[in-house]
Point group: C3
Chain length 112, copies 3
Amino acid sequence: MKKIEAVIKPFKLDEVKEALQEIGVQGMTVLEAKGYGRQKGHSELYRGAEYVVDFLPKIKIELVVADDLAPAALEAIQTAARTGKIGDGKIFVSDVIDVVRIRTGESGPQAV
Amino acid sequence: MKKIEAVIKPFKLDEVKEALQEIGVQGMTVLEAKGYGRQKGHSELYRGAEYVVDFLPKIKIELVVADDLAPAALEAIQTAARTGKIGDGKIFVSDVIDVVRIRTGESGPQAV
Amino acid sequence: MKKIEAVIKPFKLDEVKEALQEIGVQGMTVLEAKGYGRQKGHSELYRGAEYVVDFLPKIKIELVVADDLAPAALEAIQTAARTGKIGDGKIFVSDVIDVVRIRTGESGPQAV
Ligand SMILES: Nc1ncnc2c1ncn2[C@@H]1O[C@H](COP(=O)(O)OP(=O)(O)OP(=O)(O)O)[C@@H](O)[C@H]1O
Ligand SMILES: Nc1ncnc2c1ncn2[C@@H]1O[C@H](COP(=O)(O)OP(=O)(O)OP(=O)(O)O)[C@@H](O)[C@H]1O
Ligand SMILES: Nc1ncnc2c1ncn2[C@@H]1O[C@H](COP(=O)(O)OP(=O)(O)OP(=O)(O)O)[C@@H](O)[C@H]1O
Ligand SMILES: [Mg+2]
Ligand SMILES: [Mg+2]
Ligand SMILES: [Mg+2]
């Protein structure tokens, strides 16, 4: 299984959620976050103020999917989250060793 | 070391924490989250409303443990978090390469 | 790439952020959290009250960096977050398989 974590613009959450559900992603977790990327938060808003560095509000989503669904999930997030302006976000992919569905006790890919 | 992430029902946090402390888990981190699983949030509450899709409040816990404690931690979370109703949650297990205890500078399993 | 997650004292966030920017870390995500470590939260404040176990407010930071920047990032976090008192926090390091920069579609280390 793969864990896909994406940090996106907050107003894009609904579109990303719908895009993921359309390709069959069955579960996801959402966290409020703040962050900065290459432009260091608000600094792009202030002319010449190179040392203004601050955090902007972001949404972090986390989804664990079977390996074969990961490429489509990446594609769905990218397409739905992109505005073309700076700060559109990042996606991180990592390995998951095991998943347990607490109610049923199932584990492995069918538990995702 | 293993990282165990679990998304659980908020009212189960105390029971899960106690179950983990009883088996010797020495540290844990808790985050507020929201999420959906197979039933897509509130949809189960509305008869026939198959397209109602929303997020429900959840708690995410994260604990990093030595490899040999991981099976007992999984078992403790499952037992303490289970109600038998939908939405009981998920547990995800992944590998951790290194841990540092900031105050002492220790690293590796004894830093956990 | 490596994911570095650190749970630190909230008032240390600015110092940690600056230390990371000085060594060239180009992005980071911040989450509000609560947690306990070996002393189980507030218990150390109550004489004899061995069973007082509670969560303390913490900040969790997450940064994904190219492999060669990881040791300097660990060092920067440790130095900036340390007060020498209990509860200074923990750092966890894990592997990241892929990173996507949503705006540009870049992936891999240059997307970080
Ligand atoms: N290396 C990183 N590690 C952890 N989080 C990151 C990293 N880079 C970006 N983020 C998170 O993603 C959010 C959005 O990043 P952002 O899209 O601005 O990246 P960028 O590299 O500056 O790309 P762009 O030039 O398109 O703005 C940040 O606010 C931060 O929360
Ligand atoms: N694949 C997943 N990836 C990330 N988070 C998930 C995933 N599946 C579930 N979650 C998180 O766990 C929470 C609880 O999921 P839930 O227990 O409803 O899973 P489920 O598969 O629908 O099982 P059940 O049929 O018992 O309800 C969700 O609200 C979400 O936050
Ligand atoms: N094993 C762990 N897994 C997940 N989170 C942890 C773990 N240990 C500590 N944390 C997080 O880090 C925070 C700070 O931990 P803390 O610095 O108290 O660790 P400690 O081992 O007790 O070290 P110290 O003796 O210096 O206090 C905790 O509140 C918790 O959020
Ligand atoms: Mg940016
Ligand atoms: Mg469900
Ligand atoms: Mg402690």
